[in-house]
Amino acid sequence: MFDVFALGPTGWGDEMLMGAVMTVLVSSSSLLLGITLGIVFAACKLSNFFILRAIAEVYTTIIRGIPELLVIYLLFFGGSSAVMYLAKIFGYMGYIELNAFTIGTIAVGAISGAYSTEVIRGAVNSVPKGQFEVGKTLGLSGYSLYGKIIFPQVARIALPGIGNVWQITLKDTALISVTGLVEIMRQSRIAAGSTHEPFIFYTAAIILYLLITRLSNIFFDSAEKKYSKGYVSKEAL
């Protein structure tokens, strides 16, 4: 039974591993994009300008309110249609392919960005107002205030939430398989359909996903520990 997972041309082991690498690549780029979007839109939501708050509200409401698959379809098929439409205006009639990896990262990144926005906004709100005031009283501003005082506190509160967003992001990448990007899901579907052994390959996919989440949990646990240094947890009191 394990012959089918041999590495090299006789087995599917190398293809499945490449699929796992692709999943990790696309989910980590999506998470990075998502956190960036999250910081930007959380700042918008916390700003004093109505228009910025409204834009951020529209973004999180729409993205969190519609199925992820729809976002991916919209960007993948709609995205290249839109680019081709623009190109047509300039007289170029051919097909323009938007790279499946880029589109997938943008789509899943936009989704995880909406969830990250809420996580980060909540975390910033949980930092006591006094921390900002004391920082300013001490004459701190810019990086020394936000980077040294506020960020570590926000990070401590946001990390468990971001860990959750990471797992959602990781699983959302399975949906990108519809664009033809060969990640774990698409690779196991190819292997299952080509060998008529769906059970073996979907089980392998489960194990790969669990391995990735397990390893990333170790990373998030240690990051949480790092940012909780100097903070006495309620359980300890």
Binding site: P9, F77, M93, Y95, G180, S194
Partner: protein, 277 residues
């Protein structure tokens, strides 16, 4: 000034692309396939696309003097991606149906999995002999002759079909026997094995799966391969509705490949039987 520049660039690009098209619009044909539907099209463990449709596509492209380029696409997005222009043709074991024809057009079928009749090996029907094929698109004497031979052989017998299928339509239109309509193939299989019906009409694949089980070991097939007409056209190449020239090229290449036996040869190699139209 900026506007003028972009118009110039636009004109230049369109001039270039016109030249490219004039040099043979379809010198390269991109073929989209799923790569996960053995033996039609699938992926070997080294990641290469293989299968009956890959072999056929290469042969067709050679006939059309075109370069074949294969693009893998998940089944879920396979029609939208064709419409969008990601590739020009779908060859992915896709049956030609009226529903799909609303969105895309199809070449003529390059392979068909015909319907056939099945009976127990103890039945007199098991020795029934007839023409190899019954093509309902052909209204010649051989078609009507084969149908009346079938009706003679099955006179007064019970013939099973499953409900709301092309096979039920066929039986209603052409057969004189007593029809028994079943909700599922499985129930019909059991009744055939138990002798409650004398024959059944269904797709070859599903019946063969039953014949491989212990309960179906006494079942044999008889009569012609039935296809065409109201049984549908089989599996064809999906093509954008606007590309009538490409459809014409495929129709001709498929007709040639069917006529010189290439499709039969590929079919025998991958399916172990002849699915040529």
């Amino acid at each position: 000034m900026r506007n003028l520049k972009s118009i110039m660039v636009g004109l230049m690009i369109s001039a270039l692309s016109t030249v490219a098209f004039a040099d043979g619009h379809w010198s390269t044909i991109k073929i989209g396939t799923e790569g996960a539907y053995e033996p039609w099209n699938f992926t070997d463990s080294d990641g290469n696309l293989v299968g009956a449709e890959l072999d056929l596509a290469r042969d067709l492209c050679a006939r059309m003097n075109a370069e074949c380029e294969f693009v893998q696409q998940d089944w879920d997005g396979i029609i939208p991606a064709l419409v969008n222009g990601k590739y020009d043709v779908i060859m992915a074991g896709m049956s030609v149906t009226e529903e799909r024809k609303k969105t895309i057009s199809f070449s003529k079928a390059y392979m068909t999995e015909p319907a056939r009749f099945f009976a127990l090996n103890s039945s007199p029907l098991s020795t029934f002999s007839s023409a190899k094929n019954l093509n309902l698109d052909d209204d010649g004497d051989s078609t009507s002759g084969t149908i009346s031979a079938l009706n003679n052989a099955m006179k007064g017998m019970n013939v099973g079909v499953t409900v709301a299928t092309i096979h039920e339509d066929f039986a209603n239109k052409y057969l004189d026997s007593n029809l028994k309509v079943y909700p599922t193939q499985d129930e019909m299989n059991l009744d055939l094995a138990a002798g409650r019906i004398d024959a059944m009409l269904c797709d070859v694949g599903t019946a063969e799966a039953f014949m491989e089980t212990a309960g179906g070991s006494d079942v044999v097939t008889f009569g012609p391969n039935v296809f065409g007409g109201l049984l549908g056209e089989g599996v064809g190449a999906g093509i954008r509705q606007g590309d009538a020239d490409l459809k014409a090229m495929f129709d001709k290449a498929i007709a040639d490949a069917a006529a010189d036996g290439t499709i039969s040869k590929i079919s025998m190699q991958w399916f172990g039987k002849d699915l040529a139209p």
